[in-house]
Symmetry: C2
Subunit: 332 residues, 2 copies
């Protein structure tokens, strides 16, 4: 062998190695090896293999994800509610009447118990006061500003850093396999749209959520949309499959949720003829994140967990299945 | 020059010719050369040229189109209404009570005048009886079956052949330039979704329209969506910009309509900061298609035409600007 031939062989060997490595590189490095990870990879491989009986055309590869508790942390309180409370406190100086007016007075004083006792009606008042009355653009800016600086009480990180790394990998993995990824959130749609593209790679038009009645008018010669203090779409529970039909018009083949509010979306996906993958994130890791299910006020997972057993849905055991939860954790 | 060199030169010349031809091939051959065609091409060129001050990022290139009268024929009656009337006649044998019950009796007898006199209420009864009570899948199948065989009374062609060839070219042209094309229709969304991908290349999730209240239930252990006889979203007039915000969450940069029901969608696009293109199709060709505007019951174009003058929107004069309207016309 001449030196030239030897170099050539060496280069070929490198190319082969790189190619093999590219083929075998793990697309889900933050998922522990086990039946759950294997079932995800098997499903994606099957529906993308043209010669597989479970093959699904790219256009039909609709993947839907709940947001709170599925893609990012929802404890100890939904992030959107943290935002609403922060906005009440920020707006308080221009609302002196709030000092003596429930539920605002409780929020301003930080009296969580009194605020909780104000119930659904108190919550609605806080949400309407902080989420409506402005244009969608102004609201998006308020969310942007808040989320750029607000910090989670336990992790002392920005909320967008509390997206689950295994789910970010999963989103990228299914997209790389021709899936179109959607968020189907019980939260309000424009709260999530403000940062979903940057954090999840999901553009605004693929975020479906609860929404407010919106009015069109001409204000000083400018066409204007105004968010009204009245709920339009309730994208939770049975509202999720309904919204999927109204907004997407296709039945998903891949669905991920984490709470009872996702049950009907998962059932709807599970009932599809042909290939489908249906999964729940089960919060089992009190050390690295939170452990909660049947009795939690936030993200309760009770009936949907029974349904998962009955329907043989995949249940992700966070403690067992996720090697790493956040990007800021030390890697092992 | 050797023969070999001559052949090589000849081949290079061919390659150059093909390349030049590919660059200069007209993407809008059914549009007559003139200011309208020029303004479309100038706009698309500007917003896709990175060094142009009017450049728009691909993700923001949202293009919205009305359907009836903008993308296909709407005279002498909206196609969806033709479908509804045909369905009444098809269902009549299983509804003997309709024989004596207005407005159904008028439709069955073909008494257009009596049906018209039944007004909005009569129309609603016919639409609910033919568009609701079933699942979205069953409805889509009914539309599919009908549209595969029904023929337009004047042109004796299938309705899907009555898509305007210049607009099909325009849809393809803007998509080839990174635009995402949406239909924003006053018609009901699932009627259009049944064939929009095949005819326009627009997938179901990019069709926004009027919709019915839809209910989720478990029927014999199967998750089921049922279309209810009640309107949910009214995607017409001011409802169009509202629906654009709710469904897409981005402000369009390119909007095409043809009637007063599109005025607010066009205003909303025209009011955008930065580059935008706003246009109306004006039906001026009674010979090749139909001529109608300010006094038409179908697709009335009156206030929006005034607004087009005031706002300097582009007005497509069908007779002047379209060299060819349908694919089945003889080419010149």
């Amino acid at each position: 062998m001449t030196i030239r031939q030897a170099v050539a062989s060496f280069l070929v060997a490198i190319v082969v190695c790189v190619a093999v490595r590219a083929q075998t590189a793990d697309p889900l490095p933050s998922w522990n090896n086990g039946t759950v990870k294997q079932s995800i990879v098997s499903f994606v491989t099957a529906v993308t293999s043209a010669d597989n009986p479970r093959f699904v055309q790219p256009a039909e590869r609709i993947a839907v994800f709940a947001n709170d508790g599925t893609l990012w942390v929802e404890q100890p309180m939904y992030t959107q509610l943290q935002f609403a409370l922060a906005r009440v406190r920020a707006l308080a100086p221009s609302h002196p009447e709030w000092k003596t007016q429930m539920p605002f007075s409780a929020v301003i004083k930080g009296d969580d118990k009194a605020f909780e006792e104000s119930g659904e009606d108190g919550l609605a008042q806080v949400v309407f006061a902080t989420h409506t009355g402005m244009t969608p653009d102004v609201f998006a800016k308020e969310v942007d500003d808040w989320i750029a600086s607000a910090r989670h009480p336990r992790f002392d990180r920005r909320y967008t850093e509390l997206a689950y790394q295994p789910m970010l990998e999963l989103l990228a993995y299914v997209r790389a396999n021709g899936f179109k990824t959607y968020i189907i959130t019980g939260g309000t749609v424009e709260f999530v749209r403000a940062w979903s593209e940057r954090v999840y790679g999901i553009p605004p038009e693929q975020v479906v959520g609860t929404s407010f009645v919106t009015k069109y008018s001409m204000a000083n010669g400018q066409p204007t949309l105004t968010r009204e203090p009245d709920v339009d779409v309730v994208d939770d529970g049975p509202g999720k499959p309904v919204a999927i039909q109204q907004y997407i018009g296709r039945r998903p083949i891949f669905a991920f949720g984490n709470s009872d509010g996702d049950q009907q979306m998962l059932e709807w996906t599970a009932g599809r003829t042909g290939a489908k993958f249906v999964a729940l994130v089960h919060h089992t890791d009190g050390e690295r994140e939170y452990a909660y299910d049947r009795t939690s006020h936030v993200g309760r997972l009770d009936k949907a967990l029974d349904e998962a057993t009955r329907g043989k849905w995949t249940v992700v055991d966070m403690k067992r299945d996720w090697a790493r939860i956040f990007t800021f954790e030390p890697t092992n």
